[in-house]
């Protein structure tokens, strides 16, 4: 190898290592910045911050419980709707639809994921929330009103329920596209074998397809959950900026991300910014844990890879 080659190799290697280290540095910087920003609030409020529901900046009282509650409830609601739907879409696009339909519908479902959250939120405020307030919420209240979750509907439709619906729209394409990719990895021989033994299509799905991909589908769900928990914009637009914890889904609430989005530029007291950093820290921990969890339970499937496309 000539000297120029050695130098060239070294330069390219150096650049690549530098780029990789930069990515690592960015992550470390994010963690450091969030933790150090939160320290005044952590030392003042400590762990009880997580269970106090009152957020009153002018009194210097800060608690994350209402935001944690809204985040978890809206995300779980989205997941409860999007997971079965997404798996069904994945099954349809991997096993049932004829190839021409797959080639059209598959990309369309993926494009649903490309719609920016600010447009989802705006569409939600103008179209989805009024629809929910006029039709969905009264219906659910009439039928399931005895469950405290389905209290009397409000007129604006801005509620944890609407935020959950908006999140459903954003999580559904993720779970659908990922589970379709997973179902396509099931070996044809396994499915044919089950069919040759007389299994119906549903029995092939339940006996072969779902068991072989269960860990991957679970990981896809966790990734969807992570996306829903961290979503700031559409949730802020739809959740109605409420305070406190209420049993009814149809009342306005708040979430970790939307609390940050709403209050950051208008923070009043000295401890508010650190408290918002504390919320960001909770969100950061949730984000990191869901990523690691998805990676761990995915096992041999690399679901995050498909998400990057």
């Amino acid at each position: 190898m000539n000297p120029a080659g050695v130098t060239g190799d070294r330069i390219l290697f150096g650049l690549c290592v530098f780029a990789g280290l930069l990515a690592v540095a960015v992550l470390c910087l994010v963690v450091y910045e969030v933790v150090s920003g939160a320290i005044p609030s952590i030392s003042r409020f400590g762990v009880p911050f997580l269970v106090h529901s009152r957020w009153a900046a002018n009194f210097g009282i800060f608690g994350a419980a209402a935001a944690i509650y809204g985040t978890i409830v809206s995300s779980l609601m989205a997941l409860a709707i999007a997971t079965p739907l997404g798996i069904a879409i994945g099954l349809c696009l991997s096993m049932m639809a004829p190839p021409p339909i797959r080639a059209v519908v598959g990309p369309l479902v993926e494009m649903l994921a490309a719609i920016p959250s600010v447009i989802v939120g705006f569409w939600g405020v103008v179209a989805l929330a009024p629809f929910a307030a006029k039709h969905l919420e009264p219906f659910l209240h009439d039928v399931f009103g005895f469950i405290p979750l389905f209290g009397p509907p409000q007129t604006t439709g801005l509620s944890i329920f609407s935020a959950g619906l908006g999140l459903t729209l954003m999580v559904l394409p993720i779970i659908a596209a990922l589970s379709r990719d997973l179902f396509l990895t099931v070996p044809e021989e396994l499915k044919d074998g089950a069919a040759a033994l007389g299994a119906t299509r549903w029995e092939v799905i339940r006996g072969v397809v779902l068991p072989t991909t269960a860990s991957g589908v679970a990981a896809a769900t966790v990734l969807g959950l992570g996306r829903a928990l961290g979503e700031a914009i559409a949730v802020t637009q739809l959740i109605g900026d409420g305070t406190g914890i209420h049993s009814s889904l149809f009342l306005p609430g708040t979430s970790l991300a939307s609390q940050i989005a709403t209050n950051y530029n208008y923070s009043e007291s000295a401890l508010e910014i650190p408290s918002l950093f504390y919320l960001a820290l909770i969100l950061l921990v949730i984000g990191l844990v869901t990523s690691v969890l998805a990676k761990t339970i995915a096992g041999r499937f690399d679901v995050q890879r498909s998400l990057a496309r």
Partner: protein, 308 residues
């Protein structure tokens, strides 16, 4: 002959030849369950497509009412009046600068993962984990962090800070997609180059990258489409600016952009504001969906080329 068939017909242990061929009992139930599941899956798929059509249709129908050359080429006036010229230009500049940072770093990271680090080496696995964690980061945290780093110190929101925030969002996407494409470049190309005694850096730049360039471009386009619509990272770093002025100076000024325009205009109490937000949403969505289609076409062509 007649006697034989009579004998068969009369034997109760044999199935009735005149019985209908449709399944009964357990077999019938299993068939019905399977049908129900299939219909359910089809309904779910149609529902997803209907959702996309509904959202896109609403945006297009309402957005077309606002769309005109005047809308595209004048700056906002007053409360939600005028057009979105400065926000369009600003978004283009911010995203372009973010891509300028994120694409080289992301592609180099991808090259490191495939060409230098062994796929099972500790360094590669750690780096992949870091990229996955970055990708899973709620984007509003990126906004908070960049605010703390670049805005809190000077108290000035800048387009530069916005570009940095978007670059952080784009980096893991580009790195992972480049790595994927580089992984499927046929190993025989590397071996052939090695056999000819070509230096590693010449192999990478002259052989591997040209083959993979289509796939890398696909990843870059997708990440640009993603960044163009990101709002959360910009909330604290590029939302304070003069909304009626064109501002392309990334350093020292907030730069108007489309996501923040939508975010700050949609709940203004004027009818014009809503119409204009639909218009802005239509422009943004058109760009993003076209970019997605382009990326898909490019990827299909690259795959075909690699297969030979």
């Amino acid at each position: 002959m007649t006697a034989l068939s009579d004998a068969i017909e009369r034997d109760p242990s044999l199935p009735d030849p005149a019985a209908p061929l449709s399944p009964s009992g357990n077999l019938r139930r299993r068939g019905v369950v399977s049908r129900v599941v299939e219909v359910g899956a089809w309904v779910a798929a149609l529902f997803a497509v209907a959702l996309l059509v509904l959202v896109v249709y609403t945006v297009v129908r309402n957005g077309l009412a606002a769309l005109s050359l005047n809308f595209l080429f004048t700056n906002p006036v007053g409360l939600g009046g005028g057009g979105i010229f400065n926000a369009l230009l600003g978004s283009a500049v911010i995203v372009a600068f973010a891509a300028l940072i994120a694409v080289p770093v992301g592609v180099l990271t991808g090259i490191y993962l495939t060409e230098f680090a062994g796929p099972r080496s500790g360094a590669a696995r750690a780096l992949k984990l870091v990229l996955d964690l970055l990708q899973g980061l709620p984007t509003i945290i990126v906004g908070v962090v960049v605010y703390g780093l670049l805005v809190a110190t000077t108290h000035v929101e800048t387009g530069f800070a916005a570009s940095i925030a978007l670059a952080i969002v784009m980096l893991p996407l580009i790195a992972r997609s480049s790595q994927e494409v580089l992984l499927v470049v046929p190993g025989s190309l590397r071996e052939a180059a090695d056999a000819l005694g070509v230096d590693r850096w010449r192999t990478v730049l002259g052989v591997i990258l040209p083959v993979a360039i289509g796939g890398i471009a696909t990843g870059a386009i997708l990440s640009i489409a993603r960044a163009a619509g990101e709002t959360a990272p910009l909330l604290f770093v590029d939302s304070l600016y003069n909304p009626s002025q064109t501002q392309l100076d990334l350093f020292g000024h907030g730069v108007p952009n489309i996501p923040i325009y939508i975010w700050t205009t949609y709940d203004l109490p004027t009818a014009n504001a809503i119409t204009n937000v639909w218009g802005a949403a239509l422009v943004l969505l058109t760009f993003i969906l076209l970019a997605n289609v382009a990326a898909r076409v490019l990827l299909a062509r690259t795959r075909a080329k690699m297969r030979g």
